[in-house]
């Protein structure tokens, strides 16, 4: 049986929190790259331009992760409310089956609860769809990060004495991108567990 939505959404939120922490590491890598490029001078002009991209990318990932994290948390809270209503409905159904004398008197509240549950479920469906869309959107950053890592390797090749250090930075970018992608993949598979079958290779 699939995990309840409030657990899935909370787990997605946790994955995106981790992704955000990784992106902070990426911002640090950009700072190191910049310092190195300044020291290396004219040999690393191309690399210096790349560091701007890394910084922008890191801050884009951080803000996007923050948005998704927040969205997922809100969704989890909504899912808990829906679960409570669902739980109440299960109890009400049992009471209805017992046909107590004054059953009619409770019907308006049962209907109200049922209506609320429908509305909540509808909101949850929309929320989950948005969440999936936002995560799909984030993969674009991973693709950019990989492109930057490749260009960094190319630039490193012409950096003479600084080659080794620049290659370390390029590797760092790729590894961080991989780790962020892993968090996104986990978030995605959590969501597809109860939503839809989807595979994303990056």
């Amino acid at each position: 049986m699939a995990a309840p939505v409030f657990i899935i959404a909370a787990s997605v939120s946790a994955e995106l929190h981790q992704a955000m922490i990784e992106a902070r590491g990426l911002a640090l890598t950009a700072k190191n790259a910049r310092a190195l490029a300044v020291r290396a001078g004219s040999k690393t002009v191309g690399f210096r331009a790349i560091t701007d991209f890394i910084e922008e990318l890191a801050s884009a990932i951080i803000s996007q992760s923050r948005v998704i994290n927040h969205h997922a948390e809100k969704l989890s809270t909504q899912a808990v409310t829906a679960w409570h209503s669902d739980n109440a409905m299960a109890h009400f159904r049992w009471v209805e089956a017992q046909k107590p004398e004054h059953l009619a008197s409770i019907r308006p509240h049962i209907n109200q609860c049922d209506k609320q549950l429908d509305a909540l479920n509808h909101e949850l469906q929309i929320g989950l769809r948005d969440l999936i869309g936002q995560i799909d959107e984030s993969y674009k950053h991973i693709r950019t990060a990989n492109l930057i890592a490749t260009s960094s390797h190319v630039e490193a090749a012409t950096a003479g004495d600084f080659r080794e250090q620049l290659e370390v930075i390029a590797d760092n970018i790729r590894k961080t991108a991989d780790r962020i992608a892993a968090h996104l993949n986990r978030a995605n598979s959590l969501l597809s567990q109860n939503h839809r079958e989807r595979k994303i290779a990056c």
Binding site: H91, F92, P100
Partner: protein, 245 residues
């Protein structure tokens, strides 16, 4: 859920709900009480979440939903009021009377619709239909903010965890001998009740009442002469024993 009418005088009734045959093992058995008068009813210590459906179904046999205008929670324990989140959906217009001390805690059980009526430390009297009910302080017995319900007209004291016994399923409803019943209550009172001073204060208060039935939240109920027997037994029982280890 077994329903027993404890008192009836016109439209003034006390009904006890207990000994739910479907109760899962490992959950303490509880007595729930419904007091009716006129067009109103109050549910005392409505119970744990697992009891909600059988309780609602039982209560609706006696009174329509809009007739249950009040709930009472003697204290914050889960066996008292963890069903609140569900009653909140079933009786959105009801009021919950409970110690002021526990308001911000009890709300954790889920309360979006029901109105919290905070009982002050000194207790209070409310009107239910044509009768008056008094919330009598029973602080530290066992909870630090705790009340019992006194219905002077019926002569019934709902005594919460005081007088409670943890018994085998199928035990009789009434205490028939304090000598035999005392041992079944001893550990519970000694370990759960923390304060001898609180115990003496409570005994002084309730000794002034003409109690025809003392109705605790667990186990059997007391009628005279067992009510006085109980008070004497409780008086001499050292409580708060865990710190003496």
């Amino acid at each position: 859920m077994l329903a027993t009418v404890l008192y009836e005088d016109g439209d003034h009734r006390w009904i006890m709900f207990a000994r739910d045959p479907g109760k899962p093992d490992g959950i303490i058995d509880t007595n729930q009480y419904l007091i009716q008068s006129g067009n109103e009813a109050i549910l005392l210590d409505p119970g744990g979440i697992e009891l909600f459906a059988p309780m609602l179904s039982s209560v609706l046999k006696y009174v329509p939903a809009e007739g249950i205008t009040k709930l009472f929670a003697s204290h914050q324990d889960p066996d008292i009021i963890s069903s609140l989140g569900l009653w909140d959906q079933a009786l959105p217009n009801a009021e919950l009377y409970s110690p002021w001390l526990w308001e911000s805690f009890i709300r954790h059980f889920g309360m979006n619709n029901i109105t919290y009526k905070a009982i002050p430390d000194e207790g209070m009297t409310i009107t239910l239909g044509r009768i008056q009910l008094q919330f009598i302080p029973a602080h530290y017995l066992h909870s630090s903010g705790n009340f019992h319900v006194w219905d002077a007209k019926a002569g019934i004291l709902m005594s919460g965890d005081v007088g409670a016994a943890l018994e085998e399923p199928g035990a009789p409803l009434w205490v028939d001998s304090m000598e035999r019943h005392g041992p079944k209550m001893k550990k519970f009172h000694q370990r759960w009740m923390p304060s001898d001073a609180a115990k003496h204060d409570w005994i002084r208060r309730v000794s002034a009442l003409d109690i025809k039935i003392m109705a605790p939240q667990h186990g059997r109920l007391f009628k005279p002469p067992h009510v006085a027997d109980f008070l004497r037994w409780f008086e001499q029982l050292p409580v708060g024993v865990a710190i003496k280890g």
